[in-house]
C-alpha cells in the first residue's frame, strides 16, 4: 500500500502517463528509429539488416531525382503558403467589418476545409480533366486555349498549388479573423481619428499588430504544406515524369514500391530536418 502522500505526489504523473506513452511510442521513438533505419539496410521482414553507415544518404545526394523532388516540394510550399495567406488576410479584412450577413460568408468560405482530400481530388480530376473538364470550357468561352492542367509537366505542379490554396484558404482566414478581432480597438480608433487613409492604416498599424497571428499561420501552413501527399497520390502519382513528385510521396514510393525502407527513412528524416530549419528561420525572422 502506498501512503496517501506518495499517492498524491504520483497522481499528476499517472494522469500524464497514457498521453506520454502514446507520444513516446508513435512520435518520439520513431524519429530515433528512422535514424537507425537510415543507417542500416532493413529488409521487408522484421530484420533491420547490417549497419551500412551513411551510404543511403550518399546514394540519395548523388541522385538527381532527389534534388528535383526537394526543389519541387520547396516550390510547392513557398508558392501555396504565401498565396493562400494573402487571400486569407484579404477575406478576413472584408469579413472584419460591422456589416450584416457576414457570418454566412464566413461559414461558406470555410466549407472546403472540412471536405475530405479524397473527395476534393475526385472533383478536381473531373473539373480539370482534358476530356470534358468544365474549367477548359470556361477558358474556351473566354477565348483562351485549353490548358493541359495535369497532363503536362509545366502545368501539373501549379494545378496542385491552385487546389491546395482552394482547400486551405478558409482555415487561415478564420485564424486571421480571430487575430483581427483581438486587436486593441483603441489604437485602431485613434488612427482613424487622425485621418490616416485606410491603406496607410493597414500597413502601419493593422499588419504590424497582426504579426503574432501571421507568424502562427505561417508555422501551421508550412508544417501542413510539407505534408502534401494526398493530391499527388490520388491525382498524378508524382507525374507526369516526376513533375509533381514531392518528399512525402518520394519516401512512400521508396518504402512501399521499391521496398527501400532505409532510403525512405533517410528521405523522411531529411524532410523533418528541413521543416525544423525553415521553422527556425521563420521564427528568427518574426522575432527579430
Amino acid at each position: 500500500m502506498m501512503s496517501p502522500r506518495v499517492m498524491a505526489a504520483t497522481r499528476p504523473y499517472l494522469y500524464l502517463a497514457p498521453t506520454l506513452a502514446v507520444l513516446a511510442a508513435f512520435t518520439y521513438f520513431p524519429i530515433a528509429r528512422l535514424a537507425e533505419m537510415s543507417l542500416r539496410a532493413p529488409g521487408v521482414g522484421t530484420s533491420l539488416g547490417p549497419w551500412i553507415g551513411l551510404s543511403a544518404y550518399a546514394k540519395l545526394f548523388a541522385n538527381p531525382l532527389f534534388w528535383r523532388v526537394l526543389g519541387q516540394t520547396i516550390l510547392f510550399v513557398f508558392a501555396s503558403v504565401p498565396i493562400a495567406m494573402a487571400f486569407a488576410l484579404g477575406l478576413a479584412l472584408l469579413l472584419d467589418q460591422p456589416l450584416r450577413g457576414l457570418g454566412v460568408f464566413r461559414v461558406l468560405y470555410y466549407t472546403p476545409v472540412v471536405m475530405p482530400t479524397v473527395a476534393v481530388a475526385a472533383l478536381a480530376l473531373w473539373m480539370f480533366n482534358a476530356n470534358g473538364g468544365v474549367v477548359d470550357y470556361f477558358l474556351r468561352s473566354l477565348g483562351i486555349a485549353p490548358v493541359p492542367w495535369l497532363v503536362e509537366s509545366t502545368w501539373a505542379l501549379p494545378t496542385l498549388i491552385l487546389i491546395a490554396v482552394w482547400k486551405n484558404v478558409g482555415y487561415y482566414m478564420i485564424i486571421y479573423l480571430a487575430g483581427l478581432q483581438a486587436l486593441p480597438q483603441a489604437v485602431l480608433d485613434a488612427a482613424r481619428l487622425d485621418g490616416a487613409r485606410p491603406i496607410v492604416r493597414f500597413f502601419t498599424i493593422t499588419l504590424p499588430l497582426l504579426r503574432p497571428t501571421t507568424f502562427f499561420i505561417a508555422v501551421v501552413a508550412l508544417i501542413g504544406s510539407f505534408q502534401i501527399f494526398d493530391f499527388v497520390n490520388l491525382m498524378t502519382q508524382g507525374g507526369p515524369s516526376n513533375a509533381t513528385n514531392v518528399l512525402v510521396y518520394f519516401a512512400y514510393q521508396n518504402g512501399f514500391e521499391y521496398l527501400q525502407l532505409g532510403m525512405a527513412a533517410a528521405i523522411s528524416l531529411i524532410m523533418f530536418a528541413l521543416v525544423l530549419l525553415i521553422l527556425g528561420a521563420v521564427a528568427w525572422a518574426f522575432n527579430r
Binding site: 497522481r11 498521453t19 524519429i31 464566413r106 475530405p116 482530400t117 473527395a119 487575430g179 525502407l261 525512405a264
Partner: protein
C-alpha cells in the same frame, strides 16, 4: 455606402470559384451517363438519375467502409478526449517536478507529423502483427498533442478559489475534472472534438499505410480505390460517391458551424 456594396460585391464574387465546384459535383452526380460529356456543360440534369447513388454505393463495399470509418473515428476521438483531459488536468492544476519539460514535450509533438514518422510506425505495427487491424488505425492517434494543449489552456482559466470551494464540498481529484473543469470548458472541448472528428474521418494517409484489406479499410481509402477505377469513365458515379463520403462532415459542419469558426479555438494558440 459605396465601400459597403464593394465589400459585398467582392465577397460574392469570391464565392463563385469557391462554391461552383460543389454545385458541379452535385449536378454531375445526378446525370445519366449520356449527359456527362456534352459539348456545352449542362447546368441542370434533365432527368435526375438518383440511382447513380445506389450504383456507386454498391460498386465498392462502401457500407463496410462507412462502418469502419465510423468506428475508427469514434474510438480515436473518445480516446483523445479522455487522454487529453487527464493530461491537461495534470498540467494545469498540479505543481510537480518536471511539469515544464513535460508540457514542452507535448507541444513539440505538434511539429512531428505522421507524414514524417510513417515508415517507422509501419515497421513497429508490422513487428507486432497489427497491420490491417483497427488497433493500427487508432493507436498512433490515441493521444493528441493539440487537444492536450487546448484543454490545458481552457482548464488554466478556471480560478483557484473554485477548486478550493469544490474541495470543501468533497469534490476533488477526478471529480473536480469531471464535474467542474470539463463542463466549464464545454465550448473548447466540443470545438476540439469536432475538429478531431473531421480530421480523422477525412484522413487518407495513415489508413493507406496500414490497410490492404477491405474488412478494415475506411471510406477515404474506398473512394481512393474508386477513383483509380472510374477515372475517365463514370464521373457521375464518382461524384455521387464523393458526395456520400463528404456528406457526414458537411452536415456536421453546417449544424455545428459556430464551434468551427469561433475564434476561441485559435486565439489561445498564439504565442
Amino acid at each position: 455606402m459605396i465601400r459597403r456594396s464593394a465589400s459585398y460585391a467582392v465577397l460574392v464574387a469570391g464565392l463563385v470559384p469557391l462554391l461552383l465546384p460543389f454545385y458541379w459535383m452535385a449536378v454531375t452526380s445526378l446525370k445519366p451517363k449520356r449527359e456527362v460529356f456534352t459539348a456545352t456543360p449542362q447546368w441542370l440534369p434533365t432527368h435526375p438519375a438518383w440511382d447513380n447513388y445506389l450504383l456507386a454505393w454498391t460498386a465498392e463495399p462502401f457500407a463496410r467502409f462507412f462502418f469502419n470509418s465510423a468506428v475508427v473515428t469514434a474510438l480515436i476521438v473518445a480516446l483523445q478526449l479522455v487522454l487529453a483531459s487527464l493530461a491537461a488536468f495534470a498540467l494545469s492544476r498540479f505543481e510537480f517536478p518536471g511539469r515544464r519539460v513535460i508540457f514542452w514535450t507535448v507541444v513539440a509533438a505538434l511539429i512531428v507529423p505522421v507524414q514524417v514518422t510513417f515508415i517507422a510506425n509501419f515497421m513497429t505495427l508490422a513487428h507486432f502483427g497489427l497491420l490491417n487491424t483497427y488497433a493500427a488505425l487508432i493507436a498512433p492517434y490515441a493521444a493528441s498533442a493539440f487537444g492536450t494543449f487546448l484543454l490545458r489552456q481552457a482548464f488554466a482559466t478556471v480560478p483557484r478559489q473554485l477548486e478550493d470551494a469544490a474541495r470543501l464540498d468533497g469534490c476533488s481529484g477526478l471529480g473536480f475534472l469531471w464535474h467542474i473543469l470539463l463542463p466549464l470548458s464545454r465550448p473548447t472541448v466540443l470545438a476540439f472534438a469536432l475538429v478531431a472528428v473531421v480530421a480523422h474521418w477525412n484522413d487518407y494517409f495513415w489508413p493507406l499505410i496500414v490497410t490492404s484489406n477491405n474488412t478494415v479499410r475506411t471510406l477515404p481509402i474506398g473512394l481512393g480505390m474508386f477513383i483509380g477505377q472510374e477515372v475517365t469513365t463514370d464521373w457521375n458515379l464518382l461524384m455521387a460517391a464523393s458526395i456520400f463520403v463528404s456528406a457526414p462532415m458537411l452536415l456536421l459542419f453546417f449544424f455545428m458551424q459556430r464551434y468551427f469558426v469561433q475564434s476561441k479555438l485559435y486565439t489561445g494558440i498564439r504565442g
